[in-house]
């Protein structure tokens, strides 16, 4: 019975904006939220990998999702937000247009993700939810960041 109760338990998500859409990711992956500061460029990296920053002693790569998925304007000002994530023992920062609230969602609030018309490939999506009449796209941030197309982690490197 306790198990059923756990399943019903809400998961918390951090909502953020990319372009005109609202997305959300699992709050437990979020390490911190910071502004965008000077990033050291890395040679031969794709345009969406902006470079690395010093996060209290750790060298952390910064990825601009707006560039990767060609949404919105990739501008950098005092309002630009970097969400620092903890993904499979690594730390990665993603640049987004803004962050909003933390919402609690239960499983039955989720709708299945569509197969088309969405920026992200559906395998990176957990589903859709509606909050205050707004559609929130739930991202499987773990899958996305660890994926090969992001090219952030070297799985099998052949030089």
């Amino acid at each position: 019975m306790a198990e059923a109760a756990v399943k019903q338990k809400d998961q918390e998500f951090l909502t953020f904006t990319l372009g005109n859409e609202n997305y959300a990711l699992d709050i437990l992956t979020v390490k911190e939220i910071r502004g965008y500061e000077s990033v050291t460029k890395i040679a031969n990296a794709p345009a969406f990998i902006k470079g690395v920053i010093n996060l209290r002693g750790d060298i952390v790569p910064i990825v601009d999702l707006r560039i990767k998925f060609s949404v919105g304007d990739a501008t950098y000002d005092e309002f630009t937000i970097v969400i620092v994530l903890h993904i499979s023992n690594r730390i990665v920062g993603i640049v987004v247009d803004g962050v909003s609230d933390v919402v609690s969602l239960s499983k039955d609030q989720l709708r299945p993700p569509p197969d088309f018309g969405v920026t992200f490939d559906s395998r990176y999506l957990l589903g859709l939810a509606t909050i205050n009449e707004q559609m929130i796209i739930l991202v499987d941030i773990n899958e996305l960041i660890s994926s090969e197309e992001m090219g952030l982690f070297s799985s099998q490197e052949t030089t």
Binding site: T40, A43, N54
Partner: protein
């Protein structure tokens, strides 16, 4: 009230592993015609220790095997039984079985009792067949006593609490105190001293073993009961103790690697903070500023010393890796029917513990390669006027900021023609007239093998590309030298992972890069007339009668530079391994010590970049990997500097 024994399991496993490794090492070294008494004792004691511990924890499989081994070994060292080479083989097989059993207990898996019973049978057969006389009635009793305490061995219950089983020191008395004459005692102990100093090739593990004997004596005289020569012992004790201080096995403690890593990280942070402090201090004026500067300099010295001391904690002698090779060579030469001599040099060269573990596989593969493919059969060798016994030399040395490990064999060397034709077969492109070095590098291509027969040792063409990748993932390089008919040498070069490097900061555009000082020959502002052009955008710098290829850093790092004309910037002459080139940058910023932060921890390996560092103002600067930068230049013919 029962004590939860599980907390002691990990100590027991670690110590047993060490005992097994030691047994294997000693068995391999053993001279069967005239076995060294000390070595026999050590082997016996190792088996004895494992047996004792396994009894406490109820590891019956371990106990039963070590029990029979122990009786056999006891007979051998008491000269009641002569040791033969086939017995050594049996003991080595037993050690293998024990290692397997230990693994099973460690990972809580099922014990393969058929294996255990088989080895026990074989051991018992030898015991029965060669028994001269059983003077010790307790020996037969013990055959039933698997895993149970025998009264006199109770002190062994202290396994893990005391450094050595106290009882065995009494048994040490055999053969040493028979004379009961103190002068003979001193003489014997002096021999020990000489022995342990002469054992150059002994592993770090071996030396403590020998000292065990010397240490035991004080303990036994301190504690226990009536022994006739005890009185003469006490006279000698102070001398032994004093002499022993130099290699004390007691003077070490086990520390969890994560604790050491944490310490290293913290020291790294201190270095960064200290350099930030320096930066601020430079802006303080007047007398206060001067005082600050001198104190800051003192702090920098202290920090450097702590950093060196802490780094050395993680350093282990490479003999820890080399130790397994006598066994590998022995087994392999027996399997292939070749007689091989293994020479190990530079075993005390130290390297970081993390590196040692990752080196084992590549080195094993290269050694097996040398023996399988390099060294020819005995007939072929005598036909070539070589001795029938092949030689493999495993050597390690420190060279500047790198550690160099080489495997040399006096076999047939690499066959240039065969490699080239195989490459053509597999459609691997080579340049028109490749140098020998380029041909040898072809064998690292995946799936490449010129072996006529695939043995289960090698020939499948799977190993060498993995070796190369492993070496590269450690930030190293692997080179080959070979002379046909004479032999071949594989050389692995690895950077010593000292987390702090002396570097020269250079600027390109708005970015700062760090060049390790060890690679810099000199820096200069080149004159326009010394810059010569080669076809297609390549340029050379003429310095003191030599042409250095120019590598513009802004191109390699894709940064907008301040200057694109070489004579307006700075040329840093770089020498990396065998490559020389002139790195063109905007300007020099300064020289400083930097802490290497890993880029791969959260990102991945980048060509040309060894790591990153945090500058005094908190920004990130990339540390260049000059060797891989040199590879990316498009001037192969100029890269090989004579």
């Amino acid at each position: 009230m029962s004590i939860d024994m599980k907390q002691f399991h990990s100590v027991f496993f670690e110590e047993s592993q060490e005992h097994l490794d030691e047994m294997e090492h000693l068995l391999l070294d053993l001279n069967t015609d005239n076995p060294d008494a000390e070595e026999l004792n050590s082997i016996f004691r190792a088996a004895h220790s494992i047996k004792g511990g396994s009894g406490i924890f109820g590891f019956d499989a371990l106990g039963s095997v070590t029990h029979i081994m122990e009786s056999l070994l006891d007979n051998v060292r008491q000269k009641k039984l002569a040791i033969t080479s086939s017995m050594v083989d049996l003991f080595l097989s037993s050690v293998d079985v024990l290692k397997g059993i230990l693994e099973s207990y460690k990972s809580a898996r099922e014990i393969d009792w058929t294996n255990v019973n088989k080895i026990c049978e074989r051991l018992e057969q030898v015991t029965k067949a060669r028994e001269v006389a059983v003077t010790n009635t307790s020996a037969t009793n013990d055959l039933e006593g698997f895993g149970f305490f025998d009264e006199p061995e109770k002190p062994d219950a202290a396994f893990g609490f005391f450094s050595d089983p106290i009882v065995s020191s009494q048994e040490d008395a055999y053969g040493f105190f028979d004379a009961g004459d103190s002068s003979a005692l001193i003489q014997n102990n002096n021999e020990y001293e000489i022995n342990s100093q002469q054992s150059q090739q002994c592993s770090a593990q071996n030396i403590p073993a020998k000292d065990n004997k010397i240490i035991n004596l004080p303990i036994s005289s301190a504690g226990t009961s009536v022994h006739p020569s005890e009185s003469s012992l006490t006279q000698v004790v102070p001398k032994i103790k004093a002499a022993d201080v130099t290699h004390g096995e007691n003077s070490s403690i086990r520390v969890d690697v994560t604790k050491v890593d944490q310490l290293i990280n913290l020291v790294g942070e201190i270095v960064i903070t200290q350099s930030m402090l320096n930066l601020i201090g430079q802006r303080i004026e007047g007398a206060l500023g001067e005082k600050f500067q001198s104190v800051a300099a003192e702090l920098e010295r202290n920090t450097r010393e702590i950093q060196e001391a802490v780094m050395s904690i993680r350093m282990l002698p490479i003999s820890f890796v080399f130790n397994r090779f006598p066994r590998v060579v022995r087994d392999l030469s027996a399997k292939l029917g070749k007689s091989i001599d293994l020479i190990i040099e530079g075993g005390d060269t130290e390297l970081d513990k993390g590196l040692t573990e990752k080196l084992v596989d590549p080195l094993t593969h290269l050694v097996r390669n040398s023996i399988d493919h390099g060294i020819e059969s005995a007939e072929m060798r005598t036909g070539r006027n070589k001795s029938a016994t092949g030689t493999v030399i495993l050597k390690a040395a420190q060279q500047g900021g790198s550690i160099v490990i080489s495997i040399t064999d006096d076999g047939g060397g690499l066959n240039r023609e065969r490699i080239l034709s195989k490459a053509r077969e597999q459609n691997i492109t080579t340049s028109e007239n490749p140098t020998d070095a380029e041909v040898w590098q072809l064998i690292f291509a995946p799936g490449f093998s010129t072996a006529e027969q695939i043995t289960d040792v090698s020939g499948r063409g799977v190993g060498l590309d993995v070796v190369k990748r492993n070496v590269q993932s450690l930030g190293g390089r692997i080179d080959i030298e070979s002379v046909e008919g004479v032999g071949a040498t594989f050389t692995i070069r690895l950077p010593l992972t000292l987390a702090i490097v002396d570097g020269m900061c250079v600027s390109v555009g708005d970015q700062t890069f760090i060049i390790p000082l060890v690679n810099i020959v000199e820096s200069m502002q080149p004159l326009e007339k010394d810059i010569k052009s080669l076809a297609e955008n390549d340029q050379l710098l003429f310095v003191r009668d030599q042409y250095w290829p120019i590598l513009p850093l802004y191109k390699a790092m894709q940064v907008e530079p301040q200057f694109t004309e070489v004579h307006r910037g700075i040329a840093v002459l770089i020498e990396a391994n065998k490559h020389r080139f002139a790195l063109f940058v905007d300007g020099l910023v300064g020289q400083q010590q930097v802490v290497i932060k890993s880029l791969e921890q959260h990102y991945k390996r980048v060509q040309g970049v060894a790591g990153a560092t945090i500058m005094g103002d908190g920004s990130v600067a990339l540390i260049l990997d000059v060797e891989s930068l040199s590879i990316s230049t498009t001037q192969p013919q100029l890269q090989q500097a004579s």
